[in-house]
């Protein structure tokens, strides 16, 4: 993938610029993305792309930059260098004159509506009922009517198996139930891209399965593009089309889940998978 060197080039690199052009370019493109926190380089000139509808799992030791990738896409962080493109349009930057400048708040607000995220710590709003949690964004961001949003909330809660908890408050729910509500809340915005940030890491082991089952169902029944950071290797193997192994801000190895988990080629991947297995995940 060749990065765009000239500021005049405001179309996304990657996809079809070598060989024959595919019908549809990639949905997400990271183009030489660097992210530093002070002296610490978390992402080091990272290049990768994700196709429409693709489900990608990011694995790797903590501190390898996986979560940062999701946070950049959710605009919770800003790139230090490089560009992110979504659907052929600049995302981390916005066009100005003939070039690109770092994206402003208004631009980001418009762009990130199509992206949803589920967090490790659920982050439900404790001052609102489950129903209100799910309705909040559709009503106040998309301008959906309250009736319509309430109906959608009911449908989504049924999907995650919590139809009877619609009037409960988050504090009354178990961690697993809270996380399923958080998934419903993210889905209520009908995102094209769903970011899952270690969504089962904060859960008691017996609650993990329920959450993963919901996500399997979402994966099977929708064409939402999913980026998933997880230590649940079984889930990653079942659900994802591709696995990226990260190490020190770079991709150490990537491939089909069967290959990565069954026949890892890099030493780094082998030792990482071994340590995850030993820790009982």
């Amino acid at each position: 993938m060749s990065p765009s060197d000239t500021p005049e080039n405001t179309t996304a690199p990657g996809g079809g610029n070598s060989g024959e052009a595919p019908a549809e370019g990639p949905l997400i493109v990271f183009d030489q993305v660097v992210k530093r926190f002070g002296d610490l380089t978390v992402l080091d000139h990272l290049d990768f792309s994700v196709a429409h509808g693709e489900r990608v799992t990011l694995i790797g030791p903590s501190g390898s930059g996986k979560t940062t990738i999701l946070r950049l896409l959710m605009t919770l962080e800003k790139v230090t260098e490089g560009h992110i493109w979504i659907d052929g349009e600049p995302f981390s930057h916005m066009p100005r004159g003939n070039g690109l400048v770092p994206a402003g708040e208004t631009y980001l607000r418009m762009k990130r509506k199509r992206i949803g995220m589920v967090f490790q710590q659920f982050n439900l709003f404790p001052n609102m009922s489950v129903r209100k949690n799910i309705m909040e964004a559709p009503v106040h961001v998309l301008g959906v009517s309250k009736d319509e949003a309430a109906q959608k909330a009911e449908e989504l809660l049924d999907l995650v198996g919590l139809g009877d908890k619609i009037d409960a408050h988050p504090t009354q729910l178990s961690g697993g139930q809270q996380q399923r509500v958080a998934i419903a809340r993210a889905l209520a915005m009908s995102p094209e891209i769903l970011l899952l940030d270690e969504v089962t890491s904060a859960l008691d082991p017996e609650l993990v399965t329920g959450v993963l089952d919901v996500l399997r169902e979402v994966a099977e029944n929708t064409d939402i593009t999913m980026l998933c950071v997880t230590h649940e290797m079984g889930f990653a193997r079942d659900v994802s089309h591709r696995v990226l192994m990260f190490d020190q801000g770079r991709i150490a190895e990537e491939g089909h889940p069967d290959q990565i988990f069954g026949d890892p080629r890099q030493e780094r991947t082998k030792s990482f998978l071994k340590s995850v297995l030993e820790n009982g995940h």
């Binding site: 982050n123 001052n127 909040e136 964004a137 106040h140 915005m189």
Partner: protein, 229 residues
């Protein structure tokens, strides 16, 4: 004491005689407290939010620090006697600059410096994940503050804010210095007119207790209810 001008025995008849005036004073005290508190609550919240704005926030912080480190009584006297009328009038519009107005506004602003800190601690206590979830849902700033951050922040600081209501109530006698017709001012006036201090001054203490003890109980209940969550 035998030849003193202040007889030291309790005169019940005199007590009943001065009661209406003192109750009137209590009413003024309650008004000062409630209106001043309303000012402190709204202004404090505004200040707490503005303090998060880069440069403006630092300026506001400096002013609040100044208000907190100088005595209330000096602020009241300064504003009432020394602030040029020309400066005060445009600020208050058509409201006449009475001792009551100056008293209640200065009291409110003084306490806003404290409530702002309380709100600030409440806002900082809202988990970072709440802001991030609001952002991930693309909620507009007004909704993030109004529906998510402030309801959680304020809930946590209700007891602390309640304590300031009682503090303000107990600080109202300072307005004696500019002659606001609150409890202490009236008692003092009664004393100097009748040469009997004991009844009126004692009643002032009793009336203060009668209001602040029940208030303290109510606030302790609020504390239990909100902090437990």
């Amino acid at each position: 004491m035998e030849n003193g001008s202040l007889p030291m025995f309790w005169d019940f008849e005199f007590t009943f005689e001065v009661m209406p005036s003192l109750l009137g004073g209590l009413w003024v005290t309650v008004q000062l407290t409630l209106i001043g508190y309303l000012i402190a609550l709204t202004l404090g919240l505004l200040i707490a939010i503005v303090r998060r704005v880069p440069i403006l926030g630092s300026v506001v912080h400096f002013v609040m620090e100044f208000i907190r480190t100088t005595p209330l009584i000096i602020q009241v006297v300064f504003v009432f006697f020394l602030l040029p009328a020309s400066l005060a009038i445009p600020l208050l519009g058509d409201v006449p600059i009475t001792a009551f107005t100056v008293g209640v506004v200065v009291l409110g602003i003084h306490y806003a410096a404290y409530t702002a800190e309380v709100y600030r601690s409440g806002i900082e206590g809202v988990a970072k994940g709440q802001w991030e979830a609001a952002r991930a849902l693309s909620l507009p700033t007004s909704r993030t503050w109004g529906a998510i951050v402030l309801p959680q922040a304020i809930r946590k600081v209700i007891p602390a804010l309640g304590n300031y209501l009682i503090s303000m109530f107990k600080d109202t006698p300072l307005l004696f210095a500019i002659g606001v017709a609150e409890l202490l001012t009236r008692a003092q006036r009664i004393g100097s007119e009748s040469f009997r201090m004991m009844e009126a001054i004692t009643l002032v203490g009793v009336l203060f207790l009668l209001v602040s003890i029940p208030s303290a109980i109510v606030i302790r209940r609020l504390e239990k209810r909100y902090v437990a969550v």
